[in-house]
């Protein structure tokens, strides 16, 4: 009994419960009144009435249980009946389950990703308070710049907006002391990082206030993955000394397996966290507002919305701009911008996921429409059964509920099948997703996904079942019984409804196809873009020179030392077998593989533009860089080995920059002088200095095919040797073997330097396109499925139409109609449905594709070519689908057809 009442609670039969109570109360009151009339005192009357009920709660429960038992029995009957009907038509059932499982599965799969990436809050307490803090320099069109130390302090101490604010600087680090040096991904933060996020160590501790020093402090925290990889999950790891870029640190804690830095990193997940105050050597000293070099995260004060905080910050920024006019000239248009941490991580993936979600929704809708069509056709043969049941006294409502039970059962079976498939294939499916899709590690089967799957299954069942159920149960008894002999029903109305369904199916498919078509065109345009370099047969690898905290321990402190190192490495790898040409560049020289670093510059002899501070991407490269990448020289000369610390300070510029300032001829730029702003090179702050332009090179699309070409300035590696370096090799040799060869050459020069990220440039370029390709492929698959379903739909309806009209066609043929007349008649009917569908689909696309705009490249959302081509394709395919049954109709033998009646 208690189980039943619990079930009742579950089913939320509140109304029912109140009804029972009302009913019993009415009884008691009536009895009490009669008792009163019989002469009892009011209390006695009431008491007697109550007493007769005995345990009134029990009575209430018993009574209610009867209602629930009845409901369960009816549902059980319906379910048994539905199961029997489904078993009786195994072919239909199988097709229906496959179609629906495909539709539901796609929805569950995409929802799972949407849930993990967009809906699930970040796994921290009060995740809504976490924000990423950006500097914007609006007038140089430079967004998302990092911050400087004084700015961080101002925000922390004076802005009044943050509970906690913290620098989070991703960095390369070399672990030495083991068998071979290893490069790890480190995150340098203030000591309040973990308290700000509200996370604790799984093992040991995170930072304590005493760890907050101006420079680096000794304790480091490692990730679970690194703990397993490097220490074999040794529980005694705490206290272990590790050598990081030459300095000793102590492992103080291990983070739990689920913890990940909620922000961008250099390559992969953070391996270890180091704390520093950014206010002593080896951080760039003295601190300056202009040296912006770390990303900042903050936790807003409780109850403060991001918009409110932003308003307060805008005022604060205005105040700082007045206070420091030299650091923040009006020309820069300095602003501080807050972005919710979750939005920051997810970035532009949001649009893509929503587009895909909409697409799978469409696919499911089309599948529903198709099934509704199938059921409608089947309902013709069941009309007789229904008419009989109506005639012997079954309620119409009961019949509808019963038919709906059938479709909901189908939906639920399909949903269960889909859920099982999606989660058994989870890992292989996730491998299809681009690796840079954020938060994919958080994808898991959660209650909300189960609830989603459950509801979408039920909804699907109701959606495709409702129209056929109403249609079947509205059967006019007499006609149905009379017509029944051939298993046909009142067909006119149903046929019109079928056509409406097919037309909407065609419209939906057209919208999907046009979406996929637009993405395809964008991708095509993208591949047409000349990136300015030839990625084929180029292998790259990265190295990182350790940067010890005490400059005295730095073997590569001077430019000469670093230049000599790079020169030696280059000499060795260029001599490797199979290597045609080799070059070395700074990390920012790697096209499509690095965050752009833009620096302000000024051309000597030109009035500095007050409106705008020009910026360019600056990288240092060796003489062979442009030859390896096959980027042409437009004017002047490339670097030579003589462009070293002893020589004149020289730079190369690209065409974009040259055209902007020397519009007559690129060669006019040669010999001109240009000033670059202060830059942070390792621990040394290179002062602003002046360079001579010696050459103009072709543009390299370093930020990707779809980004506007930013101007580039190249410095010579031997004049500005970087700590991190990228090695480029033009070769046909196997990159894996080559990676080993490079490693052994580098470690021959310095055994403490790791070589990592060995990849071909083809791979880098294709990884850059992966996200677009993923969206394109998925949408393409969905659109193809939609097209297939729509074709099946129209084929089915046309076959049904003509089978209904066999008799009429027979008469026409007997009366002398030509087969071509019949064919024209038949195709004409299909064409009308197709035309209505296509027009509706085109109109729908014009509205819906606006949401695709941000994913398109060089193609308008209303591109007439795409619209025309896709509409043509769809028309052709669907017309073909009605041609087959039409053709069959013309071959009817008039005699058989006439006898058909």
């Amino acid at each position: 009994m208690s189980l039943l009442s619990r079930l009742a609670g579950l089913l939320k039969i509140h109304r029912l419960e109140r009804d029972v109570e009302d009913e019993l109360r009415a009884h008691i009151e009536m009895r009490a009144q009669d008792n009163l009339a019989a002469g009892m005192s009011p209390e006695e009357a009431r008491y007697d009435a109550q007493r007769r009920f005995g345990n009134s709660t029990l009575v209430k429960e018993d009574t209610r249980a009867m209602d629930i038992v009845g409901w369960i029995e009816t549902t059980g009957q319906n379910l048994r009946y539905a199961a029997r009907m489904l078993r009786r038509t195994p072919g239909f059932t199988l097709v229906a389950i496959l179609t629906l499982a495909l539709g539901i599965g796609a929805n569950v799969a995409i929802f799972t990703v949407v849930h993990a990436v967009l809906l699930e809050p970040l796994p921290f307490p009060h995740p809504e308070e976490l924000v990423r803090v950006y500097d914007d320099l609006r007038t140089s069109n430079t967004h998302d710049v990092e911050m400087s130390v004084p700015e961080l302090w101002d925000l922390r101490d004076k802005s009044g907006v943050f509970q906690d604010i913290c620098a989070t600087l991703p960095a390369d680090a070399n672990i030495t002391g083991g068998d071979h040096p290893e490069r790890v991904e480190a995150l340098i933060t203030n000591a309040n990082y973990f308290t700000m996020l509200g996370v604790h160590a799984e093992l040991g501790r995170t930072y304590v206030p005493a760890d907050a020093l101006p420079g680096f402090s000794e304790p480091v925290v490692i990730s679970d993955a690194y703990w397993r990889r490097a220490f074999g999950a040794d529980p005694k790891v705490l206290g272990t000394k590790i050598r990081l870029d030459g300095d000793l640190y102590t492992v103080a804690g291990v983070m739990p397996p689920g913890f990940r830095h909620p922000g961008r990193t250099l390559g992969a997940d953070v391996d270890l966290w180091v704390t520093g105050g950014f206010a002593a050597v080896p951080f760039p000293m003295p601190v300056s507002r202009a040296i912006r070099y770390f990303p900042v995260m903050g936790r807003l004060k409780p109850g403060l919305s991001v918009a409110q905080a932003q308003t307060q910050l805008d005022n604060f920024v205005a105040q700082l701009t007045r206070q420091f006019p030299d650091e923040y000239p009006a020309a820069a248009g300095w602003l501080i911008r807050l972005v919710p941490a979750q939005e920051d991580i997810v970035g532009n993936v949001r649009t893509e996921l929503f587009v895909l979600f909409a697409a799978v929704g469409f696919v499911l809708l089309i599948a529903c429409v198709n099934l509704a069509n199938l059921l409608l056709a089947r309902s013709a043969s069941r009309q007789r059964e229904m008419a009989i049941r109506l005639a012997i006294g079954a309620g119409r409502a009961r019949l509808i509920v019963q038919l709906l039970t059938e479709s909901v059962l189908l939906g639920t079976i399909s949903g269960a099948a889909a859920l099982a498939t999606v989660f058994s294939l989870k890992n292989s499916l996730l491998r299809l997703a681009p690796a840079n899709l954020p938060r994919l590690n958080e994808v898991a089967l959660s209650p909300s996904i189960l609830i989603f799957a459950f509801f979408i299954s039920i909804l699907t069942g109701l959606l495709f079942g409702l129209a056929p159920a109403l249609q079947t149960a509205r059967a006019d008894q007499t006609t149905a019984l009379r017509e029944g002999s051939r298993g046909a029903g009142s067909s006119k109305h149903r046929l019109r409804f079928c056509r409406f369904l097919v037309a909407s199916e065609i419209a939906l498919s057209l919208m999907l196809l046009i979406g996929a078509g637009l993405l395809f065109r964008s991708f095509w345009q993208l591949l047409e873009v000349r990136p300015g370099f030839d990625p084929h047969h180029v292998t790259t690898a990265k190295i990182w020179l350790a940067l010890p905290n005490d400059p005295k321990n730095d073997p590569y402190l001077t430019i000469e030392k670093r230049a000599a190192f790079h020169q030696e490495i280059l000499r060795r790898i260029a001599a490797l077998p199979g290597v045609e040409q080799a070059a070395i560049g700074s990390p920012s020289s790697a096209p499509m593989d690095s965050k752009s670093t833009r620096s302000p510059f000024r051309i000597e002899g030109r009035a500095s533009d007050l409106e705008r501070i020009p910026v360019a991407e600056v990288a240092s490269v060796t003489p062979g860089y442009f030859c390896v990448l096959k980027t042409p020289l437009i004017a002047g000369r490339f670097f030579t080995d003589e462009d070293n610390a002893k020589g004149q300070q020289v730079i190369l510029i690209d065409e974009t920059l040259a055209h902007r300032y020397w519009s007559n001829a690129d060669s006019d730029a040669i010999g001109q002088r240009l000033q670059l702003g202060a830059a942070f090179e390792g621990p040394n702050l290179a002062a602003a200095s002046t360079f001579t332009i010696v050459g103009v090179v072709g543009n390299i699309k370093s930020d990707g095919f779809d980004a506007a070409s930013a101007p580039h300035i190249y410095r010579a590696v031997y004049q500005s040797p970087p700590y991190g370096a990228v090695v480029y090799l033009r070769t046909t040799a196997d990159p894996g073997l080559l990676g080993e060869a490079v490693r052994s050459e580098v470690q021959h020069v310095d055994p403490t330097i790791p070589v990592f990220d060995v990849r071909t440039m083809d791979f880098i370029v294709s990884a850059f396109l992966a996200e677009r390709r993923f969206a394109l492929e998925l949408l393409g698959i969905f659109a193809a499925v939609a097209l297939l379903l729509a074709s099946i739909g129209i084929y089915g309806v046309m076959t049904y139409t003509f089978s209904r009209r066999t008799n009429e066609i027979g008469i026409r043929i007997a009366m002398g109609a030509q087969r071509s007349d019949i064919l024209r008649l038949a195709v004409g009917e299909g064409a009308l449905v197709v035309a209505v569908g296509v027009v509706a689909g085109l109109a729908g696309s014009a509205v819906m594709t606006r949401f695709l705009q941000s994913m398109l490249f060089d193609v308008k959302a209303t591109d007439p070519l795409t619209y025309g081509a896709i509409a043509g394709l769809l028309t052709a395919v669907t017309l073909l689908a009605c041609l087959v049954p039409a053709h069959r109709a013309t071959r009817v033998d008039p005699l058989t057809a006439l006898r058909h009646e």
Partner: protein
């Protein structure tokens, strides 16, 4: 399933509650309290329907489709739930009456034989 849950008290003979209720409702729609009064009065106070069994039984019969229920106003303008016999209920009543007659006749013949 029904029998175990309905648990008619000894006041009304096991299995006869449904018959009595259906028969009572044959005269027209009535609420639960009215049904108890009617049975009590007509049987000259011999048969007493326990409230604790009546309501579960009524709801059970409603679910079985023998009777249907509707909210209405009672004699003294109180909200009460009125039960009414359905076509199915009429058939059931005929069936139960036949059964009862058979049972009563059987009991009578046993008694006669014993004499």
């Amino acid at each position: 399933m029904g029998e175990g849950l309905v648990k008619p008290k000894s006041d009304v003979l096991q299995g006869t509650l449904a018959l009595l209720v259906l028969k009572t409702l044959e005269r027209g729609a009535m609420h639960g309290y009215g049904i108890t009064l009617h049975i009590q009065r007509v049987s000259s106070e011999v048969l007493r329907v326990e409230e604790g069994s009546l309501y579960p039984a009524l709801h059970r019969m409603e679910q079985d489709g023998w009777i249907s229920a509707e909210w209405g106003a009672s004699e003294n303008n109180r909200r009460a739930r009125y039960y009414q016999l359905t076509a199915k209920g009429r058939k059931q009543l005929a069936e139960e009456e036949k059964n009862w007659a058979r049972l009563a006749a059987a009991v009578a013949s046993v008694l006669r034989f014993a004499q």
